[in-house]
Amino acid sequence: MPGLTGKDQVLTDYANKLAVLDAPKGRSLTQDALRRLSKNKAAVVSIGIVVLIILVAFIGPYFVPWGYSEVDWTSIRKPPDFDKGHYLGTDQNGRDMLARVLQGTQMSLIVAAVATVVSVTIGVVYGAVSGYFGGRVDSLMMRFVDVMYALPYILFVIILVVMFGRNPVLLFVGIGAIEWLTMARIVRGQTLSIKEKEFIEAARASGAKPFAIIMRHIVPNLSGPVVIYATLTIPEIIIAESFLSYLGLGVQEPQTSLGTLISAGAPVAEVLPWMLLGPAAVLVTLLLCLTYIGDGLRDALDPKDR
């Protein structure tokens, strides 16, 4: 019975508030997936190595005696020499290879991160919109993707370079803007199946706007394939970067990247092997680790599929 003063009501409200305040947290699907991932040894070790590579690439240069563009006239084409601080030797111009590998790794990582973020963002939004609206919008948007696929991306990159000059970051925003095509297709396919689920209909029935439905209900449920595909995109972009730098379209001297270093080291591998071994080891380790992480994520996010 509600009292005259409405005290009961106030107390109930208060009790409710308290109950809500110390309500235990639930286990979200993401937490579940992370827990499964943490049981996957290969993936955990790979994550550790990748984190280590990232830290070393960004902090390391401060502890290396030579700068990446600094020339040591007394040691040109020299193998590793611990007295002078050339721990990985020097190149034909007398620059310290360790410093260059660190800078190159840094550049490759930045490029990969920028291009991946761009391609994932565009791909997810484009694919989700196309799949959710369906019908004519969908066919139009997907035909556009088909056309883009048919264009050679080298042509696209050359146009970008002509337009914006040789700015590596801009260039890789451009690469990201091409890499999104596959992402858009994957996301569209996923969206088509998610939008048939009852919770989407429930959201529509309670008056949610299409944009809110896409952002609140569809995109969060895409995380599985998106995360997996993103881990596969990173190595792809690192390789694309190597190729473009080899053609002279990518990163420019004295800056460098893993791809540039490898393409410089490969022709002289027999006489100056240290010029190839350092960058190649980093690139191979990075690619292997990313593959293991991708595998681990796939298993962790889709436990039923195994």
Binding site: T12, D13, N16, K17, A19, V20, D22, A23, P24, K25, G26, R27, S28, L29, K197, E198, F199, E201, A202, A203, R204, A205, S206, G207, A208, A212, R216, H217, P220, N221
Partner: protein, 289 residues
């Protein structure tokens, strides 16, 4: 007495057609008439049961009523306004006044959202002005009302049982104080014991809040329990509509008789007679065909 009041929902000759893609190079487009001219009235505080076998157009009818699907003919009038002609503001009001409860309790909840966020979503859409704390209190109260502990507010759908998930669905439907709730096979996926609990919860809430229910099911036994009136659909057409008592005890249409005959009865003797009756009806139907 009920008949003297103005119905809150008037459906007149509502029809829904699906255009199926043409098969083959020269195959013309096929048209599937899922709902063929359905008419009925629904009054405030009343429960209308809609029964019929799988594929007879029950879900299609309910989705056309709230304009999740376009109707091809006829009209549905909600509180005097034709739903097909509503502008976006009126439609938003309609979405607040009519809520739905779905068949699959787990699939109707976004797996990435907590129970609290799911229940609060309609509130965010229709009453964006109320603050976060107020919203949390309302959600907690609603959870209590449908028999969930408010301390479960931060749990995710997969941490609840099927019956609890359906209670979350009911809480989400009730949070905007709707005038009508459409339950599309809302209890069909639940275990028998939990089904009874949820049906009773719905009936209690309805009595308390004075809402109307459109209760869709292929199970005439459940419908008889909850509904005052029953409408029988057969291949998209109404074959019978009337008081629950009359439709179940004295069905006029053959199809209704068959539906009722298909409900198992605990008494073996009655069940035996039923089986006999069904055999006879089937034979008659076969002869007619």
């Amino acid at each position: 007495m009920i008949e003297t009041r103005e119905p809150i929902l008037k459906v007149r000759d509502l029809a829904v057609e699906f255009t199926l893609g043409s098969n083959g190079l020269f195959g013309g487009k096929k048209i599937l008439r899922a709902v063929k001219g359905v008419s009925f009235d629904l009054y405030q505080g009343e429960t209308l049961g809609i029964v019929g076998e799988s594929g007879c157009g029950k879900s299609t009818l309910s989705r056309a009523i709230i304009r999740l699907l376009p109707a091809t003919a006829g009209e549905a009038v909600w509180l005097g306004r034709d739903i097909q002609k509503m502008n976006s503001n009126e439609l938003l009001d309609l979405r607040k006044d009519i809520q739905m409860i779905f068949q699959d309790p787990l699939a109707s909840l976004n797996p990435r959202m907590t129970a609290g966020d799911i229940i609060a979503e309609p509130l965010k859409i229709h009453m964006p002005n109320i603050g976060k704390a107020e919203r949390a209190v309302r959600v907690a109260e609603m959870m209590q009302k449908v028999g969930l502990l408010p301390t479960m507010i931060n749990k995710y759908p997969h941490e609840f049982s099927g019956g609890q998930c359906q209670r979350i669905g009911i809480a989400r439907a009730l949070i905007t104080n709707p005038k009508l709730i459409i339950c599309d096979e809302a209890v069909s996926a639940l275990d028998v014991s939990i089904r009874a609990q949820v049906v009773n919860l719905l009936m209690d809430l309805q009595k308390e809040l004075g809402i109307s229910l459109l209760f869709i099911s292929h199970d005439i036994a459940v419908v008889r329990h909850i509904a005052q009136r029953i409408m029988v659909l057969y291949f998209g057409e109404v074959v019978e509509i009337g008081e629950a008592e009359q439709v179940t005890m004295d069905p006029h249409h053959d199809y209704t008789k068959r539906l009722i005959a298909s409900v198992p009865v605990p008494d073996p003797k009655v069940e035996m007679e039923r089986r006999e009756e069904r055999r006879r009806l089937r034979k008659a139907a076969a002869k007619a065909a």
